[in-house]
Structure formats: structure tokens, C-alpha cells
């Protein structure tokens, strides 16, 4: 259990500024394209 926690903490320390920047950029871009597009999707209805 302690080992798992240590591994989790270790993986958290590997998250650097670039990773956060990438996630924020991705979020911004997803909102931008969803807002900018006007595609009509019907999914499985068609």
C-alpha cells in the first residue's frame, strides 16, 4: 500500500509545466472547435 502511494506521488512529481500547458491548450482548443463548428451529428440515428 505504502509502495503504491509512493509510486503515485512519484508519478505526480513527473507532471511538469509542459503537461499542464498541454492539458490547458487541449481544453481551450476543444471549447474553441465545439463553439466554432456547426456540424449536425446524428450519431447512430442515421
Amino acid at each position: 500500500m505504502k509502495n503504491t502511494i509512493n509510486q503515485f506521488v512519484l508519478s505526480l512529481t513527473k507532471i511538469n509545466k509542459t503537461h499542464l500547458q498541454f492539458v490547458l491548450m487541449l481544453l481551450t482548443l476543444i471549447m474553441l472547435v465545439l463553439g466554432a463548428s456547426a456540424a449536425e451529428d446524428v450519431g447512430g440515428h442515421g
Binding site: 490547458l24 481551450t28 472547435v33 463553439g35 463548428s37 451529428d41 440515428h45 442515421g46
Partner: protein, 197 residues
């Protein structure tokens, strides 16, 4: 869906290209990102959240759409120097233009609707009305559409399980997004690390 695919494909291509070139893949850095959150909020309420979209009448939904896209257009203008952003801005401008010209919603041609859905679903749709409360589209015959070449007139191939209709503006938005992610990273001088994001 076409646009989310462009984001995924662009990210992968950008990362792969950076790795192949032996540099670090850097995501594009936006200016005034808060404008996107501000611009997307009205659409989130009017089209995406089921709890709020059914409360909004069509008039308010169309005003939300236009205001939202205007704010997003400002964002693309602020970031126009990023690669691909000018293509994205052009696509957004096309969509906004045809939406404004046709009363506040994106026109979906009857011809595209026929190809998109089966006859049973088609019978439930009324010409001149929105497709659903979650939709930005209004069903119109091509003769009644202003700027018809910018409307939702293209339909994804029938062999695809996920069907959608899209416009020329959507294609430009997808192309701009892909290009932005493919080449839109600043490469630091002297960078020698491989392409890990």
C-alpha cells in the same frame, strides 16, 4: 466529431513530427484563453447542457450562438499569428456569416438531411424549424438558404457508423486546428531532447 478528430490527429501528427525532427513538442501558447471560456459558456447553456437548453427559447438560443461565435472570433483574431489560426478564423467567419444570414441558426439542407437520417426520422423534422433543442441547425430547402454553399450540406460517408453533416466552415476549422497542432509549437534554440510532450 470531425473537429475532435482533427485535434486528436493534429496532436499525434505534431508529436510524431517533433519526435522525428528530434525536438521537444511544445503545445501552442494562446493569448487571452479566457475569451474561449467566456465565448463557449453561452453555447454550453444553450446547446450542450440538457438542464438549461430546454429552458431557453429559440430566439435566446440563436442570440447565444451568435454572441458566442463573435467572442470566439475575437479570440482567433487575437491569436491570428499562430500557424493555422487564420484558417480557423476564416472557417469560423464562414459559419458565423451563414448563421447570421439565415436568422441565427446554421441551415441544414433538406438534401443533406435526406442523406443523413432515415425516412422515419426525416418525417419527424419540420422545414424551417430546429432539428432539436441540442442542435445549432435549422432545416431549410436549398432555395430558401442565403449563402447556401456555406450551409451544412456535406454528409459523412455512409460506411461510417457515426453520421454527421458539416459545412465548408467546419472543414476550414478542422484544417486550421490540424495545422495549428502540427506546426504550432515554438522550438527552443538548442533543444535536443526527443519529442515527449
Amino acid at each position: 466529431m470531425i473537429l475532435l478528430t482533427a485535434i486528436a490527429a493534429g496532436s499525434l501528427a505534431g508529436w510524431g513530427y517533433a519526435r522525428w525532427s528530434g525536438v521537444t513538442w511544445q503545445p501552442p501558447v494562446f493569448r487571452a484563453s479566457w475569451l474561449v471560456a467566456l465565448g463557449f459558456l453561452p453555447q454550453l447553456m444553450a446547446f450542450y447542457l440538457p438542464q438549461t437548453r430546454r429552458l431557453l427559447p429559440d430566439d435566446l438560443a440563436s442570440i447565444s450562438l451568435i454572441c458566442s461565435q463573435l467572442v470566439l472570433l475575437v479570440f482567433t483574431f487575437v491569436n491570428r499569428r499562430l500557424p493555422g489560426m487564420s484558417i480557423l478564423m476564416l472557417g469560423l467567419g464562414c459559419n458565423l456569416g451563414v448563421i447570421v444570414a439565415n436568422g441565427g441558426f446554421m441551415p441544414l439542407t433538406v438534401d443533406a438531411a435526406v442523406r443523413l437520417v432515415d425516412q422515419t426520422v426525416l418525417n419527424t423534422l419540420a422545414v424551417g424549424e430546429r432539428i432539436s433543442s441540442a442542435s445549432k441547425d435549422i432545416l431549410l430547402p436549398e432555395t430558401q438558404i442565403l449563402l447556401p454553399w456555406l450551409a451544412d450540406r456535406f454528409v459523412s460517408p455512409p460506411f461510417q457508423p457515426y453520421r454527421f453533416a458539416f459545412s465548408l466552415g467546419d472543414v476550414l476549422i478542422a484544417a486550421g486546428t490540424f495545422w495549428l497542432l502540427l506546426v504550432g509549437w515554438p522550438v527552443a534554440t538548442g533543444t535536443t531532447i526527443s519529442g515527449d510532450a
